[in-house]
């Protein structure tokens, strides 16, 4: 099949399915780990965004990021997440950053590229969300920096582990040629 630009069936479906995971994690609250910092929650809900953009490119990541942003805006219990400039806008960049990082490093080592993309995607989430909260005057710089380290670092580590596990497992399935065959179980 020739290379298609824009949204192929595959990209639409992967974006939909990963958004479903983001929504599920938000609704069952499995995606939040409550911690006593000003942000209130450490989150793993940005991981579908990173996985989507590594697998299918930044447009998929951006759409999932948008849906993740919306669900965090709607479900927010911390005042500054009720501002779409804090909860939705920064999330659009998670996919773009992790895709750029992945594509940049891929040629040297695919696994390192996945790991670093997972880390940078998570860091993008932390830095842009908190940066925006500071810019909009919800947080002072000091507490924001503490939150970035206390929340962001564990989030980034968890993100690297999950992204690496999921994407490498997927690529292994891929390589066995099980993709798009009728015998998929």
């Amino acid at each position: 099949m020739e290379k298609q630009i824009g949204f192929t069936v595959r990209r639409i479906v992967v974006a939909g399915v990963l958004s479903a995971i983001a929504i599920l994690l938000g609704f069952t609250r499995w995606g939040y780990i409550p911690v006593p910092t000003p942000a209130g929650n450490a989150t793993i809900m940005h991981i579908p965004v990173i996985i989507g953009s590594i697998m299918e490119g930044w447009p998929v990541g951006t759409v999932i990021g948008f849906i993740f942003g919306l669900s965090s805006f709607v479900g927010a219990d911390v005042p500054f997440f009720k501002d779409p400039l804090v909860s939705v806008l920064p999330r659009l960049f998670i996919g773009i950053v992790s895709w750029l990082v992945f594509v940049g490093i891929r040629r040297w080592n695919v696994y390192a590229a996945i790991g670093v993309a997972g880390f940078m995607g998570s860091a993008t989430n932390t830095i842009l969300v908190l940066g925006m909260a500071v810019l909009r005057g919800y947080l002072a710089f000091g507490p924001a920096l503490v939150t970035a380290v206390a929340n962001g670092l564990p989030e980034a580590i968890v993100s690297v582990l999950i992204t690496l596990a999921v994407v490498s497992a997927w690529m292994r399935i891929d390589r066995k040629g099980r993709r798009s065959k009728l015998d998929v179980d």
Partner: protein, 281 residues
Amino acid sequence: MAGDFELTRNITIGQYLPTGSVIHRMDPRLKLLAAALWILSISLCHTYLGNVAGLCVCLALFALARIPLSYGLSGLKPAIPFILILAILQLLFYGNGYGPSGQVYFHWGILRITSASVRVVVVSTLRFVEIIFAVSVLTLSTSITELTHGVEGLLRPLGRMKVPVHAFALIVTIAVRFVPTFAMEMEKMMKAQASRGAEFGTGSWWNIARRTRDVFPLIIPLFNTALVRAEELALAMEARGYVPGQARTAYRRYRAGGRDIVMFLAGMALSAALVFAPFPF
């Protein structure tokens, strides 16, 4: 403990309950728009009284849609422990985070409970309940097909600017459609892991590392089964001749009638009232 596994029963999003009420028969585009405005205005409402009023409207919506309230409550159930933990953490530590705002009720060491932190806790809990109720009514009264048409219809103006509206509508539909499926999948995996001796929800809430590690054996297989399903779905859609970006016709066409417009205006008025009315406290 057994209750922890009942994810599917408690997730109302993505289910459809046909009762044929006025809300069910409303034009999906207007219904979606009205729901979005309503949720937005709940999100912006900061007063106690406003949120109580919002809750009453949400309860009235259940009656109007002839959906038993138990459906809304069951959507709420899995969230309760998290809401409680969050509320306690917020109550204890927020007084510091937001500086000396409001009256101090209690102060001991780093713990400081102020009127501002009590407000954050009560309002955010009420808000969460209201939004869960509103979303439950929306999804229980709107079938997936209607939802796609609604999203697509609302976004159509963007299509002129070469934004892939149809693709986006389809992504939203797939996402909503798969939430209950994945909830079921997750339930199955929790049971499978528990039968091998894994313990969920037994780690103390302050033990963040443990709670995070608990999530791993669920999240990773969840992603993998999701991606396998995505492959199957893509294949099924291609086999049925789905071509993205192609002009498509719909089996049913929606026309907003007078009743739809009246209901939409009523919804808009309620939303505006919630945001702009001067609630005393």
